[in-house]
């Protein structure tokens, strides 16, 4: 394999079922979704030569290699920053293929995040000050009762709400749309279970005045994997190739994941604005080139902030953009068409990338017509996927 620049593409996606109790190990979930993604691509598992996951994924690379029978691994790496960097896995895989370092890169994220541990509960021990999580400043939150992802998110989101007059009712509209999308997606945990704005307003406060229960993503068990190879090779494989037109990340000075209170203006999301600038410069594309978007939605305010940061509407306008129906199926920019992390499952954002792939292929259950380009964002990283 010569080290010349090669365009990269997604050739396969795979997933386990999404549940609240998988009944098997995280490594088994990782192996099952990886095998499914490689089968989807039509690539034998022994051919994997690059592997990427999150810093906080519990499955060992070698353990997974031993399940899949990987014969010679050329590269392995992990991405810090939890879900905020989910799309950075695509960026790394793209770069490895572009550089001719790897030919078959496997991305996976698998977890028993509901049955084995609880992401939503106080993290008094779990993810304290360890390096690599991107959340080193959590130790400045714990003694003050800010101990859960919902509280960390809310301390910044409340500033955004103050600045632009956003209410919890405005946030509820994001949730209602996503649950509507999940309701027609048989893979979603909330399949057949749409909600009304009234249901949202009747759900209990998690963090007042920002998040109710129905503003929060799920805690899920499951795994999702993605296979990246060269665009040329992908054209000869089983599925329609999904070209990675561009992918990048941005971590501006003094920005960190979630306990992010030290940069200049907490009503803004400088990491998403930086990612947008870099991604549009890299690809020569603009917001109006996208037919839809998959936006990291651990909590509803993140969807509003990213819609603004990626230029789909002006600052402070996202609440009206949502209210006017733009992000629904049939709207000008359908968002999180699988139901997102709120409606489908919380596999740390990787299930949202898989939905973008299905939409470009034209095989999604909630298919958007004529999808040429999809923007995928996880806040600190983004990618543009297109028909290859």
């Amino acid at each position: 394999m010569a080290r010349t620049f090669r365009e990269a593409a997604i050739a396969g996606v795979g997933a386990t079922e999404f549940s609240k109790e998988s009944g098997r190990s995280e490594l088994q979930l990782a192996a099952e979704c990886s095998k499914a993604a490689l089968d989807d691509a039509g690539i034998h598992p022994s051919e994997v030569d690059g592997m990427i996951t999150f810093t906080i994924d519990n499955s060992d690379e070698i353990g997974l290699c031993r399940c899949l029978g990987v014969k010679d691994l050329a590269y392995t790496g992990r991405i810090p920053g939890g879900g905020a960097a989910a799309v950075a896995t695509i960026y790394h895989a793209m770069a490895l293929v572009n550089a001719g370092v790897c030919n078959t890169v496997l991305i996976w994220r698998a977890m028993n995040e509901r049955s084995q541990y609880r992401f939503g509960q106080p993290h008094t021990q779990a993810i304290g000050p360890q390096a690599g999580n991107g959340t080193g400043s959590l130790l400045w939150c714990m003694p003050f009762g800010a101990q859960t992802p919902a509280t960390w998110e809310s301390l910044a989101a409340q500033r955004y709400m103050q600045q632009y007059g956003v209410t919890n009712l405005d946030l509820g509209r994001v949730s209602v749309v996503q649950r509507k999308h999940a309701a027609t997606n048989p893979a979603a945990w909330f399949y057949g279970k749409p909600i009304t704005l009234e249901d949202h307003q009747n759900s209990k406060w998690i963090v007042e005045p920002v998040l109710r229960l129905l503003d929060c993503c799920q805690e899920s068990d499951g795994g999702v994997a993605i296979v990246v190879t060269s665009l040329d090779r992908a054209r000869d494989l089983k599925q329609k190739p999904v070209h990675i037109v561009g992918a990048c990340q941005s971590i501006p000075y003094n920005v960190e994941v979630i306990s992010n209170y030290y940069h200049a203006d907490l009503a803004l999301m400088p990491e998403a604005e930086g990612t947008a600038r870099r991604l549009y410069a890299q690809t020569g594309m603009k917001p109006s080139d996208m037919q839809m978007a998959m936006i990291y939605d651990a909590f509803t305010p993140q969807v509003l902030k990213q819609l603004e940061a990626f230029g789909f509407c002006g600052r402070g306008e996202a609440k009206d953009f949502v209210k006017d129906g733009h992000i629904e199926l049939g709207g000008s920019l359908p968002v999180n068409t699988n139901g997102g992390l709120i409606g489908e499952a919380y596999i740390h954002g990787v299930n949202n990338i898989a939905e973008a792939v299905r939409q470009v292929r034209g095989t999604a259950v909630n298919q958007v017509p004529n999808v040429q380009h999809v923007l995928v964002s996880s806040g600190m990283a983004g990618a543009i996927l297109a028909q290859g």
Binding site: T124, P129, P143, Y261, Y262, L266
Partner: protein, 150 residues
């Protein structure tokens, strides 16, 4: 209306309840902050060469890259920047939801803390506040805030 957990000691007649608040997680680069808090002092870290304040504490100045630092006593005055009430689950170590707030200090940087002696509904952005200390498990103290006395 929410009445936040009152951190002031119980009357002398009752046995003072043991603090249940989590003790701070102390790292080598932030030891100075928590040791001062134990003595009831609110301090910050400044570059000993160029004078730049920095928070969270760190071993190098991002402006001039000096590793010389000085610990200085802060005014203890600031303004409320953002504030929330964690309802569910109840934070570990609290019997009632505390007001958690990001405070903008007079010295020009922010930190996360709690707000007391003001009902949640009456908190406003820019409200002037002053520091005092609340006890934690293990005989430590952490800086918390209340509306500034006129």
């Amino acid at each position: 209306m929410t009445v936040p957990n009152d951190p002031t000691p119980a009357p002398a007649s009752a046995a003072p309840p043991k603090p249940t608040r989590l003790a701070p997680i102390v790292t080598l680069d932030a030891k100075f902050f928590w040791e001062a808090a134990d003595k009831g002092e609110f301090v910050g870290e400044r570059c000993a060469d160029c004078g730049e304040f920095r928070f969270p504490p760190r071993p190098m100045c991002p402006r001039c890259h000096s590793v010389r630092r000085e610990v200085v006593k802060l005014s203890g005055h600031g303004k409320v920047y953002s504030w929330i009430l964690p309802r569910h689950p109840m934070p570990f170590g609290f019997k009632e939801s505390p007001i958690v707030a990001v405070i903008e200090l007079e010295e020009g940087y922010r930190l996360v803390s709690n707000l007391y002696e003001v009902p949640f509904e009456q908190v406003r952005a820019g409200m002037p506040v002053e520091v005092f200390f609340a006890p934690t498990m293990g005989n430590h103290q952490v800086p918390v805030f209340r509306p500034r006395a006129k």
